[in-house]
Amino acid sequence: MSANLQKLENHLATRSYLEGYTPSQADVHVFKAISSAPDASAYPHASRWYTHIKSYAAEHGSLAGSSTAGEVFTDGSGNTPAVAAEDDDEVDLFGDDDDEDAEAERVKAERVAAYNLKKSAKPKTIAKSVVTLEVKPWDDTTNMAGLEKVVRSVEWDGLVWGSSKLVPVGYGINKLQITLVIEDEKISLDELQEKLEEFDEYIMSTDVAAMQKL
């Protein structure tokens, strides 16, 4: 019986123990399959784990759990499908009886493949933000309906204009408060503001009043 050190190393890179968060028979099983401490430069995590499990030597017989989760590292099958090893995080590490190993590995590989397919088919979420923009006119003689019209005339991919209202700022002047939804990757607010401020017969300035990720 020998252990697959690379597989062990990968597993232990993100875990303290082979199974769960405490030492168990799974650790003892693999520990006993390794004749000496793994080389720390080649297998730093396995080496760290080996030293630690060694410190439980007196309790090896009485530790809880079963060896099952450890058997997957000692089945001698260095020929595990590559995809299963890479996707180590995603698969259940249920070892099976020796004579069922090939079958178990095949089923596992199938599941991993099915999982990867499902994962790749999942639509990518598009990051969007909802923005409240304030558009200030020059003075009380500015035609606000015209102002709103030029604002809404900007039609870019990834930009959707929402509701708007006029908010008084004093001296009979109103500003236009308008909400919009943007796709973060496609739309730059700076560019949008620059574009709007080009309508200088209506617009004096624009301000982002609020912004929230959707």
């Binding site: 303290s16 968060y21 720390a40 760290r48 784990w49 439980y56």
Partner: protein, 222 residues
């Protein structure tokens, strides 16, 4: 087991996490007087026992008042020698103290500073200050991560007070400042946290593990 005294350390309070983990892991019994933070610590009977007016605070049955979470936690660990939280040899005790101090001052305090800076509690926001504090916090986490490269626990091969201190600090950092990218840089610290925070006696106290997707940032008030 009889109660060892009165502990003022609300269970959800960040500064109290280490001392509360120590109580839970060591299986000690304490009285927890009803306490409302920012109210009771300003009252005269609290200030009479604890003039500094801060928690965690502990008053033993014999009437000794102790403040500072690290000091109380160390005292509790020593009261339960069978827990192993405080190792037997003086050298190992010094190492435990070393890690506790480094983690509290270099990790926890900088996470807390970041949190305050981002809330605008330290005056006008400065990106430079924020960056300096983040660099300091990460440097310390990096040191601990490197130490854990070939060790499962910080000192020796069993859980000690240093591990409770680290998990308590990381509980805060993982939720606030260590984003996905940060966690990828310090995998040993993350797996240490997962191991300690799921320890049967500590699981309830740590609750559901919260990982920040994005580090906290300053939100300019509008």
């Amino acid at each position: 087991m009889a109660s060892i005294g009165s502990l003022y350390a609300p269970l959800g309070h960040l500064r109290a996490r280490t001392v509360n983990s120590t109580v839970a892991y060591a299986g000690l019994k304490v009285d927890r007087p009803v306490y409302t933070h920012f109210q009771d610590n300003k009252k005269s009977d609290f200030l009479g026992n604890f003039p500094h007016g801060k928690i965690p605070a502990f008053r033993s049955n014999s009437g000794v008042s102790i403040v500072e979470g690290a000091a109380i936690a160390r005292y509790f660990a020593a009261l339960a020698p069978e827990s192993g939280l405080l190792p037997k040899s003086l050298e190992d005790q010094a190492l435990v103290d070393q890690w506790c101090h480094l983690i509290e001052t270099e990790v926890f305090d900088n996470t807390l500073l970041t949190w305050f800076i981002c809330q605008g509690k330290f005056g006008p926001y400065s990106k430079e200050t924020h960056d300096i504090v983040t660099t300091r916090e990460r440097r310390a986490i990096g040191t601990v991560n490197q130490h854990l490269e070939d060790k499962t626990y910080l000192v020796g091969d069993r859980i000690t007070l240093a591990d409770l201190t680290l998990a308590s600090a990381m509980n805060f950092a993982l939720a606030k400042t260590l984003d996905t990218e940060g966690r990828a840089k310090y995998p040993n610290v993350v797996k240490h946290f997962e191991m300690v925070s799921t320890e049967p006696s500590l699981k309830e106290l740590f609750g559901k593990i919260e990982y920040a997707e994005k580090a906290i940032e300053y939100q300019s008030p509008n």
